[in-house]
Every structure is written in structure tokens, then in C-alpha cells.
């Protein structure tokens, strides 16, 4: 059973291209300074379209997490238990990801984590996090 993979759209193609090149791109608004995740055609704060992609440092903290023991559908059954993370990036925005490189039980609140770009196929690379 295949896992669901993102289908990049007009707003997000550059974001997924960035991950393929090992970069987690955040949008910086040239008008109001807002930094946003996820990728949109407009700034969520001021509505401007003067947005620039800049790579995130890849550093963040675990704001919350939940270790999944019962998979949401057959595609993830082989992975349990795994830790879903809500990571707060150093630049401010939060994102959903999963923990790799260790046991899910090792994850703690406010733990420092670092981005790992994991290629899934030629098009899609998923941003995951390991302990810093």
C-alpha cells in the first residue's frame, strides 16, 4: 500500500523543488517582514505578493508530539510506533513532521531537532527531523 504523497500545486512547486535540493524554503514578505510556512501566493499578514523564498536554518524545537501506535490506514501500518512532531522552527513558523534517527519514545517537549531531507522518489523529498 503506497503512502499518500504531496501533489505540488501552483503555490507550492518551488517549496518541493527546494526540498529536492536539500533546502526547507520559508517565504519572507518584503513588505511587512512576515515569515510564513506553508507556501502561498500572498502574505497571510499583509496580503502582499512581494514574497521571497529563503532556506530555513533547519533548527527547531519540538512544540508538541504524539507517538502513533494505531496507524491511520494500511499505508502506515508498517511504521508504528512513530512520532509525529509539531516542530517550531528557529524562524518562527511551526510545521508537522516525523521523527527519524531514534526511538519515538526518546522525543520530549522542547527538544532541539534538526532538519533531515529524505528523498521518497524523483519528485518528492519529505522534511523530517532528528535530534540535534
Amino acid at each position: 500500500m503506497k503512502k499518500p504523497l504531496p501533489a505540488p500545486d501552483a503555490d507550492t512547486a518551488e517549496f518541493w523543488r527546494g526540498l529536492r535540493n536539500g533546502q526547507l524554503l520559508l517565504q519572507h514578505c518584503g513588505d511587512c517582514g512576515n515569515v510564513q510556512y506553508y507556501q502561498q501566493g500572498i502574505c497571510r499578514n499583509c496580503g502582499g505578493e512581494n514574497l521571497t523564498h529563503r532556506p530555513a536554518s533547519g533548527r527547531g524545537k519540538v512544540h508538541s508530539f504524539s507517538v502513533v501506535h494505531r496507524a491511520p490506514g494500511p499505508a502506515f501500518k508498517g511504521d508504528v510506533p512513530y512520532a509525529v512532531l509539531l516542530v517550531e522552527l528557529e524562524e518562527g513558523p511551526r510545521m508537522i513532521s516525523t521523527y527519524i534517527g531514534g526511538k519515538p519514545d526518546d522525543v520530549t517537549f522542547d527538544m532541539d531537532v534538526t532538519l533531515v531531507c529524505e528523498p521518497i522518489n524523483d519528485e518528492i523529498t519529505l522534511p523530517r527531523f532528528r535530534r540535534a
Binding site: D9, S64, V67, R70, P72, V84
Partner: protein, 401 residues
Amino acid sequence: MSAVSKSSARNNSLRGKIAVIGIGMSPVGKVPGKSPLWLAADAAKKALADAGIQKREIDGVLSSHAMASPFHRFSIAFSEYFGIQPTFSNTLQVSGATAATMFNIGAAAIHGGLAETVLVVAGDSLLSGLTPELALRSLTESRDQQYEMPFGIPVANTFAMTAHRHMKEFGTTPEQLAQVAVTQRRHASRTPGAQQTKPITVDDVLNSGMVTTPYHKLDCSLISDGGAAFVLTSAERAKALGIERPVYLLGGAECYTHEHLFLMPSLTTTGAVESSRRAYAMAGYGAKDMDVAGVYDCFTGTVIMMLEDLGFCPKGEGGRFVADGQMTYGGQIPSNTHGGLLSFAHSGIPGSLFHFHEVIAQLRGQCGERQVADANLGLVHSLGAGFATNATTIFGTERTL
């Protein structure tokens, strides 16, 4: 019951203008061989009989999409199935808060002259028509395809991460979460037709197997079949019809804070603060005035956070409040007296309507051995999509107007 700020209620508001004159519910739990449309129609027949009106008197129908039904326009398919041709209708979708929006929009439509008598109705068959596995997958697949789903984030996970952070910030314990399930199971044991009635203990919850931390199986709501329906009309028409115990809509308000969990402004304080603040202001009553509540309980921790955000206890105190018996009979706010989504039934949007059914029945004094004494003011809080959608509704009897 003290009128804290009745005078501040806006004159042009819906407060007291609309009455619920009929309520109905299909069999719930495991109801094999019945479609979502049948479950909705069965509930609707009962609501009409309860109101003492004929189906041709219904000129408005509001409903929600049923996951086990192929019809995109469920309210339209329902009207055909039920044999009526309304002149006002819609199928609403804001996840768990949809139940409340049906009341708000129905009331506004009546007040604004778009309809005279609105049927609020929903039915779904998640257990028999869809199977639990498909129901959970369908809910999971409603999450964002690019930024959430690829990480295997179950629907429970969005709520689990908020509860988990609540534990970290306020010291809420797994035992306190479990106490919500224990209390509501005790409530369900006195509710005819409830899906789960066997008493459980805190240890039973903690030993029921981990689903996604911090939630065990018994911290999670049920998967059920069932439908519910309500008849709304103007207060004047309710009087003209000679309705014995109309229940009035005193306050209704909503708040939508985000779509993605990672854009939720705070994991531990939700849009329920704003929706309830506005609903209380419209009603002219506060949390302390409420006699009974129906609090959306997809998971145990959801109830603890909502008891705080609705103003029944201070932020961070929800766990202790529940453990101290404040959400049951004799406590500050008897909540989910039918057993809620955790023990009575959860058939999707109708699950949230069951809270409305219970609170309205309580205000009509019809709850038999689980009746809350002298219940005149009741609150229902509906929410969905990992706290993305919140809606608070306040009802009162004639004497609260």
C-alpha cells in the same frame, strides 16, 4: 441564575427570537441495514411528531454531508427522500461545529424571513455503512494533502498533540483525562439506547491500549450509526402553535482560527474562548449561570480544554475540575449527561447533534433518572478539525427570556 448583563444583549440579535419546538433521534449505536437518509428521516419524523406539525409545514431544511452517503447535496437528497419541497436549504460543512451552524443559520433564516419553519437534520452510518476502518481513513484524508497527510497524521493526532501540550504546560495527568471517559460512561449507563453502558474505571482506560499518545482507546470517541433532527420556528409561531415547552435560542456564536494544526495560534487555548464570549454576550448570561452543558468530546482531553475555554474553570484547571466531580451531577456543570460521543454514540455530525438533543431534553425536564434538577439554561459547544472550528450555543426556557 442571575442575569449578569442582559441589558448588554444587542437588540437586533437572535436572542429569544427562535424556539426549538420539536426534537427527534433515530436508534443509535449499531444500526445495520439503515442508510444515512433513513436515519435522518426517522429522526425527522419523530421531531415533527414531537412538535405536532405536518411535513408540509417545513419550508426550510439544513443538513450536513454524510460520509456513508453518496449525495453531495444531502439536504436536497433528504428532502426528496422525505417527500418535501422546501424553499430554503443547504448542506453545511465546518466539521464538528456544523451542528451549531445549522441552528445559527436556521435561526437567522427564520428571523430574516427566508423560512418560517426549519428542519435541522443529519444522519450517518459510520459503523455499519462505512466500517470503522474506512471512517477513520476518510477523516484522515480530510487533512491537508501536502503538509499533513504525508506524515501519517491520524485524525486523533491533531487532538492528541493539543492534549499532550496541555499536559506539559499545566500538569494535566492521564488519570484526569481518563476520568472524563469514566464519568461519561456512568452518565450513559442511565441513557436508554446508549451504545456503551458498561461501567469503566480509570485503570480500564489506562489499560485499553495506546492509540496515539496521550490517548488510549477509551480516551477516544465511538464510531456509530444514528441521526437527529430538530424543528425551529419563530417564538411567535411557537406560541401560536401552542407548544407546551418551547426552548429558546439565547445565544449562538462561532470562531474559526486556522485550518492547519501548525497554524493553530495556541495549542492549549482555542477559538472556544471567543465563540463562548460572544454567545454569552448575546444571551446575557455567563458560564456560572449555566445549569447543564453538552461539550464536544471527540477525545477526553478535548472536554478538559473546553471546560476551561468555556469559562467553567480557569485555564489549566480542567483536569482537577473533572477529577473533583465538577462535570457531573452535584458538580458545577453537569456535562454530557447522555454519555456524549465517548459513550452514547458518535455518528459524525449527528454525534454533535446528540448533545443538542440532550441539552434541549434537559431544559424540557424530560430526562427521567438523569434529569438535572431545575435546568433552565443550557450550553452546547461543538467543534471540529483539531479545534479549527468552534461554535457555542446557549438555550433557555421561557423563564430565562
